[in-house]
């Protein structure tokens, strides 16, 4: 393990572990809400933050955090109020964020679009000691939210209206989810890169769904898988001299394919067992209500 002799690799590996934990931990809630691509949107918006960081000579990580949190809150507000043209508003936010990033970084002294590349696709050698501090703090916040509020976030993602009737502050929890996703994007930015962040939020969860029967198990498998591919990808990237972001994402997709292939026979066996256990019921749980009569019979 000669790679551990290098300080930059120690930092990169620590960052990779934190990314591997946080990205799927948030992703599982996003997938549950069918907002799988939210991380991608935030990644685009965060580019403006990186650009601003260079322009104002501030830390790109903290600047990206600020801007992407703002963007995530804006997205959540659009989801509440802008029902009609929400998709157009989101598109403008995404591409405005990307264009803003390119514009600001080119305005920054000595900056060019090439400077952005390490942020877009991840880079091992550029994780600075101050980045590590930021990443640790942000990751702690993400873990605290995703584990500490797991029941509440689960309930909101499962059935928003029911969650409101239990008296949970659903809007605040949705905002918190968006903010947590934004923070995760900046945690992952240095290692995986902004354009590939979303993959690490979504693909491990999709893979874990193949095996998990419960939400808790899916969560745990997704995080374990996230850490494995993030560390595996970082190490591979060191030895093969390839970009870590791309390596990690390709590894994740390979894991997804492998787990899907592996779980197909498992799912068939479970389906048979379930069918045997409930011979009278409709197996998929979405058959036409059997007890229902024509609309204008009684009760009509």
């Amino acid at each position: 393990m000669d790679l551990l002799n290098y300080a930059f690799m120690q930092r990169a590996l620590l960052a990779a572990v934190l990314v591997g934990v946080t990205a799927p931990a948030v992703g599982v809630y996003l997938v549950q809400r069918r907002q799988a691509l939210m991380g991608d949107g935030i990644g685009h918006v965060a580019m403006t933050g990186v650009g601003l960081g260079f322009l104002l000579s501030a830390s790109p990580v903290w600047m990206a955090t600020a801007v992407s949190v703002l963007g995530a809150v804006l997205m959540e507000l659009i989801r509440w109020y802008g029902r009609t043209r929400g998709d157009i508003a989101l598109a403008m936010l995404f591409y405005g964020g990307m264009a803003g990033g390119v514009m600001f970084i080119n305005l920054a002294p000595g900056g060019s679009s090439a400077t952005l590349t390490s942020y877009l696709f991840g880079s091992l050698s550029t994780v600075s000691p101050s980045d590590v501090t930021a990443i640790c703090l942000l990751a702690a916040f993400v873990v605290l939210v995703t584990l500490g509020l797991r029941r509440q976030l689960f309930a909101v993602g499962q059935d928003e209206e029911f969650a409101r009737v239990t008296g949970l502050p659903v809007r605040a929890l949705n905002l918190l989810t968006a903010v947590t996703a934004a923070v995760t994007v900046t945690v992952a930015m240095r290692v995986v890169g902004l354009l590939l962040v979303s993959a690490l939020m979504v693909v491990p969860v999709a893979a874990a769904q193949q095996l998990g029967r419960s939400f808790a198990a899916t969560f745990a498998i997704a995080v374990a898988l996230g850490v494995t591919v993030a560390v595996g990808g970082t190490v591979t990237s060191y030895y093969q001299d390839v970009p870590p972001g791309a390596t990690i994402v390709l590894l994740t997709i390979a894991a997804f394919v492998a787990l899907t292939a592996l779980s197909a026979p498992l799912a068939r066996r479970r389906a048979r067992a379930a069918a045997a256990a409930a011979p009278a019921g409709d197996p998929a749980g979405r058959a036409i209500p059997a007890g229902r009569t024509a609309p204008d019979e009684v009760g009509a």
Binding site: Q158, R164, V205, G212, S214, A287, G299
Partner: protein
């Protein structure tokens, strides 16, 4: 006189530009079981959803336990069973995980204690799903899924159950199971407001039926009997029976439940 548990007074509501409720009055007294009947699109679901503050009301007043619903915070007293539409989300979840989320109206942000886990288990036993506690909901039948949603509402041990078509998709045998569960709840003093498409096995439990048509109450009184289906008041468009003419006025007042041992079991308090 005791406070009505649910009170809608002159409530109107629109979905988009379409008026769905046109000034309905609906009162449910403590311990009563009230069925809301009506054709598809008559406003039943909107009426119950407005009762729990999930539909903005354009006119009228909505109260839960005597408190305007916008200011109502004591959600542990209410168990809500929505119409089963969100069958599965993107991520697998077990029966227990879903039912436990119903307990959040009591726990809020605190950790689950032993009593909370026990309440979740009890709710599962009440609907006869204790043996499926660890199964993913995706593997359940429609009727079993419906029972999960009912257990979720029961997990908070509510005083008021609001159920939107709880029998939809449940086969007759399981309807009996659910009717049995509901009977136990009612016997222990739970108030029930439920949307039904037909009375079915629940019929003996129903104290009062409120029939909606085009967003108006056309009947408020004793439930139509199975044999008397065609005679359902307000069913014949030629003889519309306006609310109020059928004792709707009387049902807007609630007797004190302490006044008698079983004051409300017989339908309309008289």
């Amino acid at each position: 006189m005791s406070e009505p548990v649910v009170a809608l007074r002159g409530v109107s509501a629109e979905l988009g530009a379409r008026p769905v409720l046109r000034g309905i009055d609906l009162t449910v007294c403590r311990g009563q079981v009230v069925a809301l009947l009506g054709a598809n699109g008559s406003g039943k679901s909107t009426a119950v959803r407005s009762a729990i503050g999930q539909v903005p009301v354009s006119a009228g007043a909505v109260e839960l336990f005597g408190v305007p619903v916008r200011r109502f915070r004591d959600w542990r007293r209410v168990g809500y069973v929505p119409q089963r539409t969100t069958a599965a989300t993107g991520v697998p979840a077990t029966v227990t995980e879903i039912v436990a989320s119903g307990r959040l109206s009591r726990t809020g942000f605190r950790r689950f204690c032993r009593a909370d886990h026990a309440a979740v288990r009890r709710a599962l036993e009440l609907v006869g799903l204790a043996d499926r506690a660890g199964d993913p909901v995706g593997a359940l039948s429609g009727g079993q899924h419906q029972r999960v949603l009912i257990a979720r509402a029961l997990a908070a041990e509510p005083e008021l159950l609001i159920m939107d078509e709880p029998m939809a998709g449940v086969d007759l045998a399981h309807q009996e199971v659910l009717a049995e569960t509901l009977r136990d709840q009612v016997a222990s003093g739970t108030t029930v407001l439920l949307v039904l498409h037909e009375l079915g096995p629940l019929e003996p439990l129903i104290d009062r039926a409120v029939v909606l048509r085009d967003g108006r109450v056309v009947h408020d009184g004793p439930p139509p009997t199975a044999a008397g289906r065609p005679a359902l008041p307000g069913h014949d468009p030629a003889h519309p029976s306006p609310a109020g003419a059928l004792g709707a006025g009387a049902s807007h007042h609630c007797l004190d439940p302490q006044a008698g041992t079983e004051p409300l079991r017989t339908g309309l308090p008289s």
